[in-house]
Amino acid sequence: MVELVVNGGSHTLEAPVGRSLAETLRDGLGLTGTKIGCNEGHCGACTVLVDGVPTLSCITLVHTVEGRNVTTIEGLRDHPLVDSFVRADALQCGFCTPGQIVSASALVEANPEPTREQIRHGMAGNLCRCGAYPKIEEAIATWQG
């Protein structure tokens, strides 16, 4: 059993040792906004926040985050970044987008007015094969409207 705090709510779940946080969120809690693109920590689609820090949930064992605050895209649905991504057309197929927005939320939390360089640095771990990058940059630069 593992006790998880996700988007402010507590859950007690069956999880064998070795189960990843991403699988637990998706299969155990039905929070399928967290995507699995590579399942080995290279693409960033599975990014969630653990105590506010962007974390690759596909290579994080669920038991290591017991009791810590996990935030997924479902906890950020009303974040202004959602609107700024849509406004800027910062998504195409959208599969990487929840991970992009989770990463971006941590970036703007730490630095509400990031420079273009800071955005590029902070977002380089989130791959987008459609190549929405110029508009992701714009969406983050204009997230406050």
Partner: protein, 752 residues
């Protein structure tokens, strides 16, 4: 009334005659330029669902009792299965079914490439399935793989007979040329790497099969699965509402779909078969490598008099031989052209279409060669392109062509090269290059759409197409809104389910908007006509003075009634409109054109290349959504930059083992690799001969000229000729060294 006509259908440059039923009433095209909704920026209609993580992709579909699949794949490039034993796998915990080569033709006992599927296990969890696969015992007989495409060509190991083309007299053309340039270009194998891997869930409902699949072609999957399983096509239902990228790799059903269907039948449970990222990078297709030996002859003013090319496509164990030679045949007016193309059969994973297959590779070779020619003649590369502009196709006129206008629009970007070069500093050299683009993108019939309008005055557009991330669903909604005179937020769009809507075309070949858009407009127009008929009777007006605008029925004598009031009479009755895509203009070539101008910086000490700016000017007919269109262009360019600078599938040259299976090894571009500035300019000139919209496709054109434009910018900056992709630091340093040696010879020559 339904009309049966005989018409031409173009599939990536091949024309065939087909019978077609057309129900479309002819509609005049809208005037050029933005309308109320079409031609104006619209954020994508599903944007919030996707951004909030609410969109349900195939990867997110969970069915009660669903099993998971692991696939045993050949570890060898070429080997035969002498014996295979599934007994231990079948007895493993959680296993519900296991199948080998005797069960399904996509499971093979002769492995022609590493990663080909041999056996598969369905179990309660993926981990159990994977553990059970490890218990399958296979006795392999190893065979000698052929991995070098040139080796395959010399052995005659080809997938098709060599494809030969000739017009004019090339030999005489070269003999009469003032200058002849020759070079060999190479392009590498690249991998699609859609963020959502290939995956399918199959569930039997009696004698009906539901297929949830990440696909670019719902109806193609239906037909392939029905044929494979010997079922009536409509017993197969295919669903794909949200799709995590394809780029050509998801045009077909794929082995994994047949595996899931068979395991689901045996287990009596729904079965998911999803490729892991590593399987994706072995067995889901690729853009094949090419070798291109090219030759161009010209008069001293730059007029091309002869072109010839020998093209080797490293196709793999199966797949088709893309038209790498296409740009050489089509892009320029040249009387004498000769090409031969070989499709090498080698022990590597099969190619699959990847965003403008053949033309991305062929344009790299041709457009670099043209700049090498221009450099030798000391001519302006843009002027050389203008001089050789093809004004008409050989025997088929263009339905529309505005490439000269693209060149004109390129001028201010091209002028920047003087400033760019002047900004060279120390080891960093700067320069500007350009390359032209030609490709298909006309779409075609059959494609259908329905429009349903209820008494609340909202319309629902229904068609079983797919939106693979290109934003076509948004464009369709805009088209229906424009035709019905309704605001965008009063249109719903239903797609992605063969049981819910009519036949829709494949999302490949830059065809969704040109194929589906006219059908959607025709369906909306059909519904609109019915609304006007009703309003004419209700308000006692002549139909000809009524029109639909801003959610109202308005009459030219000053009347105006909200649509909800007009159709509110109907209560639960509905207005149903239907529309079909008409034929393409007979005897014409429908093509897209463009030019890209790229600025680069090259560190001549380390070989690092940076793309500083890209200007993309394309002629794709009427633009429906300028915002989504610019996203398509940027995405194509960024993929093109990946193809040019960082991406390469690597094989062990002895064993054929794929070394770049993870995204750690296969280097996709990141946000940090994106040029600081990408300028998109679309001409937005409707093709007057093409459909009721005049729109062509845009998915593929932007990736086509990028690699050549980068290489040409590198030549402008450094004088070095890069001829091999990717332009790694090694390739860049090699080309710089060669350029220095060449310059040294020139300097040394007069002294001796």
């Amino acid at each position: 009334m339904a009309r049966l006509i005989r018409t031409e259908k173009e599939v990536e440059g091949r024309y065939e005659e087909v019978w077609l039923v057309v129900e479309e009433d002819a509609l005049d095209q809208w005037p050029s330029g933005p309308g109320d909704i079409v031609g104006r920026a619209a954020p994508r209609i599903t944007g919030r669902q996707r951004a909030r993580g609410e969109a349900r992709y195939t990867a997110d579909v969970q069915l009660p009792g669903m099993l998971h699949t692991a696939v045993l794949r050949s570890p060898h490039a070429y080997a035969r299965v002498k014996s295979i034993d599934l007994t231990r796998a079948l007895e493993a915990p959680g296993v519900r079914a296991a199948i080998g080569p005797d069960a399904l033709h996509v499971l093979v006992d002769e492995a022609g490439y590493p990663g080909v599927a041999v056996a598969a296990v369905a179990a309660d969890t993926f981990d159990e399935a994977r553990d059970a696969v490890a218990l399958i015992e296979v006795d392999w007989e190893l065979l000698d793989p052929v991995l070098d495409p040139e080796d395959a060509v010399s052995r005659g190991q080809l997938l098709i007979d060599p494809r030969r083309y000739e017009r004019g007299d090339t030999e005489r053309g070269f003999a009469e040329a003032d200058i002849v340039v020759e070079a060999e270009y190479r392009t590498q194998t690249v991998l699609h790497n859609s963020m959502e891997t290939h995956q399918t869930i199959c569930e039997w409902q009696g004698d009906r099969l539901d297929v949830y699949i990440s696909t670019q072609f719902i109806w193609g999957v239906r037909d392939e699965v029905a044929e494979e399983l010997g079922m009536p096509p409509d017993k197969v239902r295919v669903v794909c509402e949200f799709m995590g990228g394809g780029f050509g790799s998801k045009n077909g059903a794929g082995d994994h779909t047949f595996i899931a269907a068979e395991l689901a039948k045996r287990a009596g449970r729904p079965v998911r078969c999803a490729l892991t990222r590593r399987e994706e990078n072995q067995a889901s297709g690729n853009r094949n490598a090419t070798i291109q030996r090219l030759k161009a002859g010209a008069r001293s003013d730059g007029t091309l008099v002869a072109l010839s090319g020998e093209f080797v496509n490293a196709v793999g164990w199966s797949g088709w031989t893309a038209t790498t030679e296409g740009p050489m045949q089509m892009l320029y007016a040249c009387d004498n052209v000769q090409t031969v193309t070989y499709g090498a059969k080698i022990n590597t994973p099969p190619m699959r279409a990847f965003r403008a297959p053949g033309f991305v590779e062929g344009t790299f070779g041709l457009e670099c060669l043209l700049d090498e020619l221009a450099a030798k003649l000391d001519l302006d590369p843009l002027e050389v392109r203008r001089l050789n502009h093809a004004h008409a196709g050989d025997d088929r006129p263009y339905s529309s062509k505005n490439l000269m206008e693209c060149y004109k629009r390129a001028e201010p970007h091209w002028e920047r090269r003087h400033d760019a070069r002047a900004r060279s500093e120390g080891p960093w050299k700067r320069g500007v290059g350009l390359a032209s683009q030609i490709w298909y993108g006309g779409g075609g019939p059959p494609s259908y759409a329905w429009v349903r309008l209820g008494s609340d005055g909202r319309a629902t557009v229904i068609t079983a197409m797919q939106d693979i991330g290109t934003g076509t669903a948004t464009a369709m909604t805009q088209i229906a809104a424009e035709e019905l005179g309704l605001p965008l937020d009063r249109i719903d769009f239903v797609l992605g389910d063969s049981a819910r809507g009519p036949y829709a075309s494949i999302s490949a070949g830059s065809s969704t908007i040109p194929s589906m858009g006219p059908a959607v407009r025709a369906a909306a127009a059909d519904a609109g006509r019915q609304i006007i008929e009703i309003a004419a009777q209700r308000y006692d007006k002549e139909q000809r003075i009524l029109s639909l605008k801003n959610g109202h029925v308005t009459s030219s004598d000053g009347g105006s009634w909200p649509l909800a009031e007009v159709v509110g009479l109907l209560e639960d009755a509905q207005i149903l409109g239907k529309g079909a895509r008409g034929p393409n203009p007979a005897g014409m070539q429908v093509l897209t054109f463009g030019v890209q101008v790229v600025e680069v910086s090259v560190d001549t000490e380390t070989g690092e290349v940076q793309v500083d700016r890209v200007a993309a000017i394309h002629d794709v007919g009427r633009v429906i959504n300028p915002l989504g269109a610019s996203s398509q262009v940027e995405g194509g360019i960024i993929q093109g930059i990946g193809h040019t600078l960082s991406e390469e599938r690597l094989l062990d040259p002895q064993t054929g083992t794929i070394l770049t299976q993870s995204l750690d090894h296969y280097k996709l571009p990141t946000i940090a690799d994106t040029p600081p500035e990408i300028v998109t300019e679309l001409l937005d000139i409707p093709d007057e001969h093409l459909t009721n919209l005049g729109s062509k496709g845009l998915g593929e054109p932007p990736i086509i000229p990028t690699a050549a434009a980068i290489a040409n910018a590198i030549r402008d900056a450094t004088g070095a000729d890069v001829r091999s992709l990717p332009i790694s630091r090694e390739e860049m340093l090699r080309a710089l060294r060669e350029a220095r040696e060449r310059a040294g010879e020139k300097v040394a020559a007069p002294a001796s």
